[in-house]
């Protein structure tokens, strides 16, 4: 795999980026598709990091400020962050067709790949050696997520307030331990959390 440093996807976006000049280079529809297909296939887990590398550093379709702006927006929208990014990015350059092409590039190749994997699993999923390997991978993936959460919790504690950790804990207890339905939990916790953040500005 690539050993080049990739930007952390948990990096907070710049608070107030300076106004950015319009990008010089306009991708065609085909370039959009190819770009998102490449991002998708080269990214394991943190796909967003790879998108910055391509959009900002290699193709120069976005300035760093424009990328941060788009990222900040995608992070607060529902759905996959990178999915939202592909839609917003594609539509900004090529309208609805650009959005569709970008999302097709992002989802198409892994969709085909994962169906092949699914078919293999359907046939060989009961082979003990494969099951044990997958269990190992699932355990490692759970560990990776725990580490990410632990890293992202640090700034929450630094901000003198206890409300952030309390909200995170309440979410964890209701979803992770109590297994309550997600829409119900979010309908209560999200307005409360945003309301508190709003008042504290």
């Amino acid at each position: 795999m690539n050993s080049a440093p990739i930007p952390s996807s948990t990096e907070p976006p710049a608070a107030n980026p300076p106004p950015s000049p319009a990008p010089q280079i306009q991708p065609t529809l085909w370039e959009l598709f190819a770009a998102f297909a490449t991002i998708s296939l080269s990214g394991f887990g943190g796909v967003l990091a790879w998108s910055r590398r391509m959009m900002v550093e290699e193709r120069k379709w976005l300035t760093p400020e424009q990328f941060n702006e788009a990222y900040a927006l995608c992070a607060i929208l529902p759905g996959g962050n990178i999915l939202n990014f592909s839609v917003i990015f594609g539509s900004r350059f090529r309208g609805p067709a650009g959005a569709l092409v970008a999302i097709a590039g992002l989802m198409g190749p892994p969709l085909l790949l994962v169906m092949i994997i699914g078919a293999i699993y359907a046939h060989y999923g009961d082979v003990p050696a494969l099951r044990r390997m997958l269990t190992g991978v699932a355990c490692a993936a759970a560990g990776l997520m725990m580490a990410t959460v632990a890293k992202m919790m640090r700034p929450l504690f630094r901000n003198r307030a206890v409300i952030g950790p309390v909200i995170a804990l309440a979410t964890f207890v209701s979803i992770g331990l109590m297994h309550w339905p997600l829409p119900l939990v979010l309908a209560v916790i999200v307005p409360v959390s945003i309301g508190i953040a709003w008042v504290r500005i």
Binding site: A15, S40, L41, F44, V47, E69, L73, C74, A75, I76, L77, P78, G79, L83, N84, S91, M107, P110, L111, V114, M115, I117, G118, Y121, R131, R132, L134, T135, G136, V137, A138, C139, A140, A141, A142, G143, L144, M145, M146, A147, T148, V149, A150, L156, G164, P165, V166, L169, T171, F172, G176, H179, L182, L186, S193, I194, G195, A197, W198, I201
Partner: protein, 177 residues
């Protein structure tokens, strides 16, 4: 596995709604996918769900691709397509219109409040995903040790996910789990 219109409709409606509640990306919706497909619909066993999650992690591309695998497991190729479209459609349309209007929002003060308010919720959801996967996949102290070991290593060092997966898969293969 039966593949009737009712099943496809259930898949489509569940994942279409889920796409609008998946804040913080695909991994934060994993507990809800588990609750619905294992506990409510009995489409998969705990073990199959953990396997599906592992396979999605091993596939390049967005983490969200786990929904395609669930759809494939439940209703074949058609199920995979329906599930993927349902998971991408509503949130994609929403992002499209917000993206169009976003120039007007630039620097709006509510943006900061929404962002700060969502961060702790997203963290709670990601932690939930980790515990749901760990408790469905764990079958003993070796598996728990792999989870803890990966967590500690990744916390104190920069680890590429593929290395962690390769080591864990080898430990599994060796028959320790």
């Amino acid at each position: 596995m039966k593949t009737d219109g009712g099943t496809l409709l259930t898949l489509a409606s569940f994942f279409a709604v889920l796409s609008l509640f998946a804040i913080g990306g695909g991994n934060s919706a994993v507990p809800e996918m588990h609750r619905f497909s294992v506990d409510v619909q009995h489409w998969l066993t705990d073990r199959q769900f953990a396997d599906t999650f592992a396979l999605a992690q091993l596939t390049p591309g967005p983490n969200l691709i786990i929904v395609t695998l669930i759809g494939y497991h439940v209703a074949g190729v058609l199920g995979a397509l329906v599930t993927t479209l349902a998971m991408c459609g509503p949130s994609g349309v929403f992002a499209f219109f917000v993206g169009r209007a976003s120039d007007r929002f630039k620097g709006a003060s509510w943006h900061g409040a929404v962002s700060r308010g969502l961060v702790p919720v997203t963290l709670g959801l990601t932690a939930s995903s980790a515990i749901v996967i760990a408790t469905t996949a764990d079958y003993g102290w070796v598996a728990a040790a792999i989870t803890a070991g990966t967590a500690l290593t990744a916390y104190f060092m920069r680890v590429h996910p593929l290395w962690a997966f390769a080591v864990a898969a080898l430990l599994g293969l060796s028959g320790l789990i």
